[in-house]
Symmetry: C2
Subunit: 360 residues, 2 copies
């Protein structure tokens, strides 16, 4: 899942990026919790190599907060719905502010009930779904996060945008390793990835996008909709997207994908009415921890030793991302030219220093 | 998802099939609950047109019960793990006996906690995952069911069997219609479907199966492993299979896919140590029921009106299956020749009447 490398980009150290993002968001008017959580989510993605959901989004978030779409100083309110579940009204908070809070509540519920789930109302774009699943794994639990988003994905046999890219993320804590971490769109490709290919001028992978007539295209500038996961078996990807839509938008009473205003504007003043859904599950409520840990170890050892096709390598979800995190902890995060330029503009606008590149 | 029609097959009325399956299982030694639930699950599939998981399996279940792999008179034991979760030790029961009981407990927990989940230990092949998700929907809740199974699916870039077909099913109750119902393998095709194509002598869909060397094949007799869902993006299907594996086998302390004895024998005397996992979620613990119902109605109306590719039609998960159920309620269930012959043999063995075909 490493995005196409850009040889000409410069790299910035993670702590420098973290400080810059927080300062920019604070200067935009965000309260501390919002600035910190939005930054934490972006850094999660930038560190793990998921650049489409990383600091590239900072400029977008500034626009959304400054315009009024996202409330920079929200009052979050939980409503219990039973011993193990709650609904969070996020007061149009940044999606990271809302979703970290929701997952913390789900983890709290799971600590006594064995499982906990929170439906989120009146949220906004939350970036990398895996960031919030990871928050559960950091607490020793299995975390699951889903959300819907504005329509970009056709149905199976469909010829127009219907579902959002509707991601699902799942993180599983491991005893002696960093978590097993799946973070995937139910589309054949995430839309942010298409934007990244567009920004880099690279050709799209086959069978991932359709043009305005629903026909396959590999030109990112012609991409008008995404295909559901599964190619000829796209009814499965569309079905998964539907399950995610139900949990994120129907169970929360929020906008369906096709009712959500486009992420890219032009309206940046109206809250988008996004829902999301998080779940935490405590493994030792089902089985003793030693058995669980041994099972994960057995599973991953066998997976990593499983025969591969020629010149390929089998990996567990997260393996590539954690390896990239190790590299970036040392070498910094590469910034694409569009993002680097946006950072310079933001620095000027708020009287801040532009992030200094790593020596290289 | 309607399987290939067999013009020469005869059709049998659903109540006749139901009686025959129960009588055969009872004659094999199954207690009433086991005979009833195994029949209920098979009839769910046969009625909805998912013939790979329908009454075709009766002969297999008789072999498994008679051989000792499946306990025909199990003592089920629940162990609470928190207010909202439990583990069920199924005593090597038929998978339907175990999973219907587990879902009933999950629904009970969700009625007070908002959500309920049950991990199942020492179960066996449960047939159609959707049958148990439906049991939650019948109680007005969203139901989710997953299980793993013996290795048949390669990893992304893998060259040997690793995961089972690891299905996920989800049913969502609707106010004035039959439930939204997704029931899918995380493989590109379910293995039972491959067996059905083999039995009917038909060619496999493209990019669904690999031969012993991991290369694609469309010859069902050459299919040695299945591809994960997603084609070139098979890491998503493999990741979903992994999430399902963790919930079904690791959270329950049961066998991983590659540790499970083959469904088809030759050993039919040793219990296979299968796990499974079910979850029920009560929508009105999150949002008032009228809002939930209106959301589902709005979603499905828009979906069914969404533009389709030429000579195609968009459908919601379950639409095709419920339409087939209507046909089969009247016209009966078509039996493939292998199953029809097996029924004759079973009838002779137990001194029962063979199911009488529908007049036509």
């Amino acid at each position: 899942m490493t995005p196409p490398a850009n040889e000409t980009s410069h790299r910035v150290a993670l702590p420098v990026l973290e400080r810059f993002c927080q300062d920019v968001l604070s200067a935009t008017g965000a309260d501390d919790a919002s600035a910190e959580t939005a930054t934490r989510a972006m850094l999660h993605a930038s560190r793990l190599g998921v650049d489409s959901h990383g600091v590239r989004l900072l400029n977008h978030y500034v626009t959304a907060m400054a315009g009024g779409r996202v409330n920079p100083r929200p009052q979050l309110a939980f409503h219990d719905g039973g011993g193990a579940v709650a609904t969070l009204d996020a007061d149009d908070a940044h999606g990271a502010r809302a979703t970290y809070a929701a997952m913390a509540r789900a983890v709290d519920r799971a600590s006594t009930q064995g499982i906990g789930a929170v439906g989120i109302r009146n949220s906004s774009h939350f970036g990398p779904a895996g960031a919030y699943a990871m928050a559960a794994a950091d607490a020793g639990m299995i975390g699951v996060t889903v959300c819907n988003s504005d329509s970009f994905v056709r149905l199976h046999d469909g010829a127009s945008r219907f579902h959002g890219t509707n991601p699902i993320a799942c993180a599983v804590p491991l005893a002696e390793q960093r978590p097993w971490l799946l973070d995937m769109a139910s589309s054949a490709i995430p839309y942010n990835r298409v934007q990244l290919y567009r920004s880099l001028g690279q050709e799209l992978p086959a069978e991932t996008c359709s043009d305005a007539h629903g026909e396959d295209t590999r030109d990112p500038d012609q991409a008008e909709m995404l295909a559901p996961l599964g190619g000829a078996f796209g009814f499965k990807g569309a079905g998964l997207a539907g399950m995610i839509e139900v949990l994120s938008a129907v169970v929360t009473g929020m906008n369906l994908s096709f009712e959500i205003a486009p992420m890219g504007g032009p309206d940046f003043s109206t809250p988008r009415g996004l829902g999301a859904f998080v779940l935490a599950l405590r493994p030792d409520a089902f089985v003793d921890r030693a058995t669980f840990d041994a099972g994960m170890r057995r599973y991953l050892n066998a997976l990593r030793a499983s025969p591969a096709r020629s010149s390929a390598r089998v990996m567990a979800p997260g393996d590539r991302e954690w390896a990239e995190a190790d590299r970036r902890d040392t070498a910094g995060v590469p910034l694409d030219p569009v993002t680097a330029e946006a950072f310079q503009t933001l620095a000027q606008r708020f009287g801040l220093s532009s992030p200094v590149p790593v020596e290289g």
